[in-house]
Amino acid sequence: MSTAPTMIELQGVHKSYGQLEVLRGIDLQVTKSEVVVVIGPSGSGKSTMLRCMNALEPIQQGKIIIEGIDLTDSHTNVNKVREKIGMVFQSFNLFPHKTALENVMLAPLKVQKKSRKEVETIARDLLVTVGLSEKADSHPDQLSGGQQQRVAIARALAMQPDMMLFDEVTSALDPELVAEVLNVMKDLALGGMTMVVVTHEMGFAREVGTRMIFMDEGVIVEESDPREMIANPKEERTKKFLGMVL
C-alpha cells in the first residue's frame, strides 16, 4: 500500500463561491489503483472537490497535486494534466452533433494528434468494452441514458487516462439503467484503474470501493473501508446520513 505511487493529492484545499465556502480544508491522497468512493448529503462539496481535481473549478487556498504536478502552479499546463484524468458527468455531456464513435474519437484526434486510423481502432475497441459496438453510428439523442453514459465513459477512456473521476454518473438514470453503467465501472476498477467516485450507490461502494469518504459541509468527516463504514459508522453525522440512504 505504502509503495504504490500517489496519483492525486489534496492539501488543505479551500474553495468558495463568493461568500459561500464550499470546501473548508480538504486533505486527501489517492494512490494507484485505489477506488475511493465519496458520499455525503447534497451541498456537502463532494462534486466540487471532484471538479477541483481537474481544475474545472479554481481553488482559493491549498494545493492539488496530480502525479507530482502541482495543478495550482500558474506555470502548469492544465490541458496536459487533464489528458491524464478522465471525467464522467452526471448529465453525460455527450456532444450531440457527433455520433457515438465520433464522440470517442474527437479528443485523441485533436489533442493527441493520432492518426484517424489508429484512433478509430481504439474507439471501436472501447465501444466493444462498454457493450455498444452496434451503436457506433448513433447520435446521442438516439441512445438511452445508460447507453449515453457508457459512451461518455468510453470517450474519457479514449485518452488513455491514468485515473478516472465519476461525478454522480448514475443519478440521472432510470433505475433499470443503473446496473449497466455500474458494471462498466466495476470492470474498470478490476482492471486496476485509479478511480474517485461520487455516488449514492451503496451496493457499488461496498463491492468495488477500496476506501470510503463521508463529506459534510465542506470537510471530510469520516474515512475508512466501505464495508466498515456502512456497517459501523463512527461519526454521528455519518450514522444519520447512512440511516437515510440505506
Binding site: N54, L56, N79, K80, R82, E83, I85, G86, M87, F89, S91, F92, N93, L94, F95, P96, H97, L106, A107, K110, V111, P140, D141, G145, Q148, A152, R155, A156, M159, A172
Partner: protein, 270 residues
C-alpha cells in the same frame, strides 16, 4: 363616394401608372447584380466580423471584452444612414485634405464597409446568444478531455451554436436586403437609386412602387424560409436536454431584437 373614387384614381395615376411600370421594371431588374454584390459581400464580412466580435466578447481577456462591447454598443446605436455618410463623405474629406487618397472610397466599397460594420454588431449579438445557449457542460466535457479553450470552441461549441443562429441570421439577411437601399444616399446605382432617378425623369412616383414590389418579392421567400428554420429548430431541440444541448429559445428572442431595427430612414433623401 365620388371623392373616394377621385382619390383612388389619383393614387393609380401617381403610383400605379401602368406605362411607367412597364418602363421601370426592366430598368430595376438590371440593378440586381449590384444589389447582390452589396448583399453577398456585406453578409460575408458582417458574419465573419460578428463571429470574431462575439468570441472577443466571451473571451477571458478584459481588453477584448471591452473592445467588443464598445464596438457593439456604438454600432447598434449609430443610425446606418449616418454610417453611410461618415464612411463615404467623411473619409473622403479627410483623405482629400490629408493626401491619404486611399481614404477616398468608391461608393460601392463605402457601402459594403458601412453595411458590414453595422451588421457585424448585430451578428455579434446573435452569435453571442447562440454560443451562450450551448450548455456549459459541453465546454466542461471538452476541457476535461484535455482540449484547449480554442479547440473546445471550434469542435464542440461552435458547430452546435451555428445551428442555433441560422434562423436569426436569416432574419438579419432579410433586413440587410432592405438596408442595401440606403446605399442610394451615396449614389450607388442600386435599385432604389435607379427608381428615384426614373421618378425624376417621369415626374411620377410610380417607380418607387415598382422598387417596393421588387424588394418584397425577393424577401418573402426568405421570410418563409426563416420561419421554417425556426420551427424546425424548435421541433428538433426537444431531445437535447439529456445531452446538455442547446435550448432553442434563442432564435425567437433575437428575431424580436432584429425587428426593432428594420429600416425606417430609406426615404429621407427623396
Amino acid at each position: 363616394m365620388e371623392s373616394l373614387l377621385n382619390g383612388f384614381e389619383a393614387f393609380q395615376r401617381y403610383y400605379l401608372n401602368w406605362q411607367i411600370i412597364q418602363e421601370t421594371l426592366p430598368l430595376l431588374l438590371r440593378t440586381l447584380p449590384i444589389v447582390g454584390e452589396l448583399l453577398i459581400l456585406s453578409m460575408f464580412f458582417s458574419f465573419f466580423m460578428g463571429l470574431v466580435l462575439s468570441l472577443m466578447r466571451l473571451s477571458h481577456f478584459r481588453v477584448f471584452r471591452w473592445f467588443a462591447g464598445a464596438y457593439v454598443d456604438f454600432f447598434r446605436g449609430l443610425p446606418l444612414l449616418l454610417n453611410f455618410v461618415f464612411v463615404y463623405s467623411g473619409l473622403a474629406i479627410v483623405g482629400a485634405a490629408s493626401g491619404l487618397r486611399f481614404l477616398i472610397l468608391p461608393s460601392v466599397v463605402a457601402a459594403v464597409l458601412s453595411l458590414s460594420t453595422t451588421y457585424a454588431a448585430y451578428s455579434a449579438e446573435v452569435f453571442r446568444a447562440g454560443i451562450e445557449s450551448i450548455h456549459r457542460g459541453q465546454m466542461e466535457a471538452a476541457r476535461s478531455l484535455g482540449m484547449t479553450y480554442g479547440q473546445s470552441m471550434r469542435y464542440v461549441v461552435l458547430p452546435q451554436a451555428i445551428k442555433v443562429v441560422i434562423p436569426p441570421l436569416t432574419n438579419e439577411f432579410i433586413a440587410l436586403i432592405k438596408d442595401t437601399s440606403l446605399a442610394s444616399v451615396i449614389s450607388v446605382q442600386e435599385l432604389l437609386f435607379t427608381a428615384k432617378e426614373k421618378m425624376g425623369v417621369v415626374a411620377n412616383p410610380t417607380p418607387l412602387m415598382v422598387a417596393a414590389f421588387v424588394y418584397v418579392l425577393f424577401t418573402i421567400p426568405l421570410i418563409r424560409l426563416a420561419a421554417r428554420l425556426e420551427k424546425k429548430r424548435e421541433g428538433g431541440s426537444k431531445g437535447d436536454k439529456t445531452t446538455g444541448g442547446s435550448t432553442g429559445k434563442t432564435s425567437a428572442l433575437i428575431s424580436a431584437d432584429i425587428a426593432a431595427q428594420l429600416p425606417k430612414g430609406g426615404g429621407i433623401q427623396l
